[in-house]
């Protein structure tokens, strides 16, 4: 690298003061990192940071989308803490969704990824089929498809009817509707599955070969080789899926038609935020909701990172 070579040459001459030398040393140590970081750093400072700070400012205003905002101090945050039952309802729904959907989805994705890793004919086709639901993403067709599965006369109840069970209208019953969205999330397990697959592919096969020669059973191989070597990827999927689940918007928006109903049973946090911002013209309040969510997710993520020393193994 030219920077380090040049710096080395400069210090070699020994004609600089101690201060300049240490400065040069700092530049030499830091320059490569910042050069590689530059595209992201520019994007962050120019494209991401500004809008985020504006939204932080707006959370202290009464911004209604159509008129200029007025500063109102902590009012939005006070209302959230003291006088907003829907905020509590949305919190409840969101936490339940996170707790249920994240572990289920990850367990499913890991199990399928292990199955689809190697050893069978036709694996590329299966992989593609299992990824297909995730391709549907935010398609408006999802609403219709999910009703077709989970309405009173839907597919699920047709199957139950064979066993003589008359199921409820899962998707429109406040007792079950959230669970149909958990199923939707698990059904779209393609992304973590692919990431697990890529992780499994990075585990050198000779490690398994050596273990087999030592007579290790396949479950022992899973616990002693697969899990530890996959732990950085598991950690990644866990953190990302949790953040995504906290922010989940599209499934509830599409399936409940933006209402969060029946009876707030699918009122996800960001769906409520969206209703407040664009339905009720309270962008200021919505911004406050957003920043409270950021704090919640940040605390959660910080704890996840603190936990890594106990279970995530990096090869360094």
């Amino acid at each position: 690298m030219s920077v380090s070579e040049r710096s080395a040459a400069a210090t070699g001459k020994g004609e600089s003061s101690a201060l300049a030398r240490s400065l040069r040393g700092a530049v030499r140590r830091n320059a490569p990192g910042y050069l590689f970081l530059a595209p992201w750093l520019i994007g962050f400072l120019c494209l991401t940071l500004g809008p985020a700070l504006v939204s932080l400012y707006l959370s202290f205003t009464d911004f209604d989308l159509l008129q200029a905002p007025n500063f109102v101090g902590m009012q939005n945050y006070i209302r959230m803490a003291t006088a907003d039952p829907k905020f509590i309802a949305a919190m409840r729904v969101t936490f339940l969704y996170v707790i249920l959907s994240v572990p289920l989805k990850l367990a499913f994705a890991l199990a399928v990824a292990m199955m689809l890793n190697r050893g069978l004919t036709g694996l590329p086709v299966y992989r593609a089929i299992f990824y297909l639901p995730s391709l549907l993403g935010a398609s408006v067709a999802i609403a219709v498809l999910w009703r077709q599965l989970f309405a009173a006369d839907g597919m699920i109840n047709s199957v139950l009817a064979i066993f003589g069970i008359e199921g409820p209208s899962w998707i429109s019953n406040p007792r079950y509707s959230l669970y149909t969205l958990v199923v939707l999330s698990v059904w779209q397990f393609g992304s973590p599955m692919i990431i697990f697959l890529a992780g499994l592919r990075q585990i050198p096969t000779d490690m398994y070969e050596a273990a087999s020669l030592d007579g290790a059973s396949s479950s022992r191989q899973f616990w002693k080789i697969t899990l530890p070597l996959l732990s950085p990827v598991i950690f990644f999927n866990f953190v990302i899926q949790t953040i995504e689940a906290f922010k989940a918007f599209t499934p509830a928006f599409i399936v409940s038609g933006g209402t969060g109903g029946p009876i707030n049973s699918t009122l996800f946090y960001t769906l409520y935020l969206y209703q407040e911002a664009f339905g009720n013209f309270r962008m200021g309040y919505a911004s406050a909701l957003a920043w409270v969510l950021v704090i919640i997710i940040a605390i959660f993520t910080a704890f996840s990172f603190l936990s890594t020393r106990y279970w995530v193994h990096y090869d360094e």
């Binding site: 159509l66 200029a68 219709v144 933006g258 029946p262 009876i263």
Partner: protein
């Protein structure tokens, strides 16, 4: 935040040089002078086709004027428009909705059009009713594009099948309940019901209130009914559910205020409630021939219907060419050269001259809508007081509370009390 809104800029094809790519197509510039308009509406592809054709005709007779149009579905329309308004970059010509008109007009986002009446905008023949229904605080904020009324949509054949006369003009609520219960008995075991559950339908509730001499809101923006009214409404529907006259709670909860989630379209009921401008869409999604009739009346009550615009055409307050935009509006709603192309796709035209000219060319479902609007006259009362800020939240509250009652998480009495309590906090927040 004075720099928060800004003026429109001319499009620059710079950066990456992509503008010169053949795939890019021709990019219409943003208005730099008065002759270039931007226009936006929500709606189907059919609406887009008709509107663009009419706009082309307008460009043909107004040399130098070009119109760039944008269209999308209802759900996407409002966040996008609000974003553009916040950026000071909304289109000159904005399609408006009755409820959103109040929000936008009161915040100074759309322009009062009174100054153009008689000059660019020659719509005096719309009549008082149709001008008033597009006004906020005495000022005209849009041109009525379609006269709309709430009604009952009926699958006549399904009623005939069980030998019960379908509800029609003048059927009162007691008769409606009796018919529905009888239908439920006759169709028992088939999972088919007479009626949708209307307890969470604000339009239906409003018609019922008006017929009883009340209203959703008073002139001062406060609530126009008592807890006992709401409780009685919820009680009526609880009895309907019990008698098997309307669908159970979990079927009604499938309804997301769209045609394809209506229990009628999903095959559960022989009738549902909806706006007249939705009728053509209902017919498209339903195999049996449908009929449109008035909503049930209150025995010895007042007329509960009123006419409101299905949508209206408005002008963005920061438009640089408000007069040309007003001219375009006039062309589309009053000039036969434009209005005949739009047809009745947005609703029945408010101008009698245009309406009369259109009637001969209408097909089945469209002519049913025109017939409905004229047959409705005896059931139509005056325009109720304007909805206050927060009215949208009250609509959501009614749906939620009606579901709490329907799923028996609450009683009709408690539901009525909750609704009024929420109204007090919502309407105060504004």
């Amino acid at each position: 935040m004075s720099n928060f809104t800004m003026d429109r800029r001319r499009f620059l094809g710079a950066g990456l040089g992509v503008a010169s790519m053949p795939l890019w197509g021709s990019v219409p510039g943003f208005a730099a002078d008065g002759a270039q308009l931007r226009m936006v509406w929500w709606g189907s592809e059919e609406r887009a086709r008709r509107t663009k054709e009419a706009v082309k005709a307008f460009e043909g007779v107004n040399a130098g004027v070009t119109v760039a149009s944008e269209s999308m579905g209802w759900d996407d329309y409002w966040p996008r428009l609000a974003t553009q308004v916040a950026g000071g970059n909304a289109p000159d010509f904005i399609q408006m909705d009755y409820r959103y008109m109040f929000e936008y007009a009161r915040r100074g986002t759309i322009l009062p059009l009174d100054q153009y009446m008689g000059s660019a905008l020659k719509i005096a023949d719309f009549g008082d009713v149709n001008l008033k229904s597009c006004s906020v605080d005495g000022k005209l904020y849009g041109a009525n594009v379609g006269v709309n009324a709430f009604g009952t949509i009926v699958d006549t054949a399904a009623w005939q099948e069980v030998g019960i006369a379908a509800p029609t003009y003048g059927t009162n609520w007691e008769q409606y309940a009796e018919k529905a219960a009888a239908y439920g008995k006759a169709a028992k075991g088939k999972k088919k019901y007479a009626s949708a559950d209307g307890s969470g339908n604000e339009n239906l509730f409003e018609g019922w209130l008006i017929a009883r001499g009340k209203s959703l809101y008073k002139d001062d923006g406060s609530l126009g009914y008592e807890p006992s009214d709401a409780a009685e409404w919820f009680k009526f529907w609880a009895a309907m559910r019990k008698s098997g006259g309307c669908v159970p709670a979990d079927v009604q909860a499938l309804y997301k205020n769209t045609i394809e989630t209506s229990p009628l379209t999903l095959g559960y009921t022989a009738s549902d409630f909806g706006f007249s401008n939705q009728f053509v869409g209902f017919q498209k999604m339903n195999k049996p021939a449908l009929a449109l009739t008035a909503q049930p009346v209150v025995a010895n009550g007042k007329p509960g219907h009123y006419l409101k615009p299905s949508q209206m055409f408005s002008v963005y307050a920061k438009s640089k060419a408000p007069e040309v935009t007003a001219k375009l509006i006039n062309f589309l709603v009053r000039d036969p050269a434009g209005a005949m192309i739009l047809g009745v796709e947005r609703g029945v035209p408010a101008s009698p001259a245009i309406r009369d000219a259109l009637i001969p060319q209408l097909d089945g479902p469209s002519s049913e809508v025109v017939k409905f609007i004229s047959a409705l006259t005896p059931y139509v009362g005056s325009l109720p007081p304007a909805p206050p800020q927060g009215a949208g939240e009250m609509n959501a509250a009614l749906i939620r509370i009606s579901q709490e009652v329907a799923f028996e998480a609450s009683t009709p009495e408690a539901g009525g009390a909750t609704l009024i309590a929420e109204a007090k906090s919502v309407l105060k927040k504004g």
